[in-house]
């Protein structure tokens, strides 16, 4: 098995998953926050835009989004994510198309996570902040957002775990990540299939477990006493 790991570059494959997850997470956080602001804004038109985005993206399968990014956006519309003269154009382009798909899909979930964080703040907190004379930005900065952020840690952690697992879907458009490596390894050594599966599975446990532990530690440590 050790030589299999070397031959099929298991660590390189996992590294691609980690890169996909990291880049998509940062971008999804940005996009998700924007959508959350739209959904939480006091203007009902903007709410409508935000919730439409979430409804549309959350109900579409991720596979469809990623395949669409490749076959629809790139092959049909000719949208290149990187300049065409790059030496590894196809590989890099597929990487960024996968990032695009993962980002728009998980941004919907990040938005919901942030919103549920804001929902954990009792209305009394806002009323108390106003009654002691804090202005709107002050009450937001000193009272509401710190509590909302703490409430959002666990749901955002759950989204990150789902995102790490969902990076495997990038194989659908030819990214050579771990699902691809696993398939080749089992086809090469069908007799050691179970071992290879366990190896990959443990890799994912190692990747997702720290996220879960960290978020639950953070959320209990920073928990708001009520």
């Amino acid at each position: 098995v050790l030589e299999l790991i070397e031959q099929f570059n298991v660590f390189g494959a996992f590294w691609l998953n980690i890169r996909l997850a990291a880049v998509s997470f940062v971008l999804a956080m940005v996009l998700g926050t924007v959508v959350a602001i739209l959904r939480l804004a006091p203007v009902s038109v903007l709410n409508w835009f935000g919730s439409t985005y979430v409804t549309l993206l959350r109900n579409t399968p991720l596979t469809l989004i990623i395949v669409f990014a490749n076959l629809g956006l790139w092959a049909q519309l000719g949208i290149d994510m990187v300049p065409r003269d790059r030496p590894n154009f196809i590989l890099e382009n597929n990487f960024w198309l996968a990032v695009l798909g993962l980002t728009v899909y998980h941004a919907a979930f990040i938005c919901e996570a942030i919103r549920s964080g804001v929902n954990t703040v009792p209305v009394g907190q806002a009323e108390a902040a106003r009654s002691i004379g804090l202005t709107f930005p002050q009450s937001l900065r000193e009272v509401i957002l710190p509590q909302a952020f703490r409430g959002a840690i666990t749901p955002i952690g759950n989204v990150l775990i789902a995102l790490i697992k969902n990076t495997t879907v990038a194989v659908a458009i030819g990214n050579r990540e771990i699902a691809y490596a696993m398939r080749n390894m089992i086809e090469f050594r069908p007799d050691a299939g179970l071992l290879i599966f366990l190896l990959v599975a443990i890799g994912f446990v190692i990747l997702t477990l720290p996220v879960g532990l960290l978020t639950s530690w953070l959320s209990t440590r920073l928990a708001v006493k009520r």
Binding site: L38, L40, A41, P42, V43, S44, V45, L46, F49, T55, R58, N59, T60, P61, L62, T63, L64, I65, V67, F68, L71, G72, L73, A75, Q76, L77, G78, R115, V118, N119, V121, P122, V123, Q125, A126, R130, F136, L140, I144, K165, T168, V169, V171, A172, I178, A179, M182, R183, I186, E187, P190, D191, G193, F197, V200, A201, F204, V205, T208, L209
Partner: protein, 310 residues
Amino acid sequence: MSAAQQVLFDLPGPRARRRHLIGGVIGSALCLGLLGVAMVRVAEQGQFEAAKWLPFTESQSWQFYLLPGLLATMRAAAVAIVMSMVLGIVLAMMRMSDIAPLRWATSVFVEFFRAVPVLIMMIFTWVMLVKNPTLREASASLGIQSSDVTFVAVVTGLVLYNSSVICEVVRNGVTSLPAGQREAGLSIGLSPSQVRRLILVPQALTAMLPALVSQIVVITKDSALGYIITYPELVSRTRQLGSANANTFVAYLVVALIFILLNWAITKAAEWLEARQRRRRRTPTPRGVPPVTMETAAPADSLDIPERRP
């Protein structure tokens, strides 16, 4: 105004309302502008030409591509839903069992399959069923045709993951029940396993029904992963349809709409169930049982015929 907005904002006065109007106009202009730019770019590529959309008015596209694909998606999802529900409840029973080794083994099983991506399990089952000689023989002796291997792989992946999730949902439901339910069951002489089977799990299932229904959305969406292991479901059929008519872009938009409508309907059903349950839970304490206080407590001599209404 929703609950979240009540926390964030005061009720607007005239000036705030004017500000909101301006913000709304600017924000909508930005959103619509982005959408418009995207539309113009898409239109420049000729994606809005009638020829790209006409195939969807022909019965052939539906008869040979979309409906078989949708049927395959629904078939995999339906089988996976039923099996995950059953297995999930069994797992939940095992995880709450009094036999410690059984409990531990189930915990390991559940935590393991929740951490592994569904796709990895699908690919594993698929490649093993095709390549591993022992498994190939075993599946052939079970009467699995080689064309059904991908279906089996899709369902296996979905069931392993979702039954673990449902196990946790049911367990959460049991923990959220009042402790009195369990105590009352034990005090009338039921064994712990009877209490779980007859009292706790049925109530947990009702309480968690909305969560279970939204899990159906997850299963339906994840069945699209079958595309990667060449299961002929809706996404792969769409690809064929798209390349037959040279309208992949449009075809995927239409199919995305089908998925969105399907899942949106299921989500709405879950929300409706939740609202219904909230309504039911709000009903006041059972009628005919007056609150027991010192004054109205039945006197010791009328124990045989409890005086219900004064």
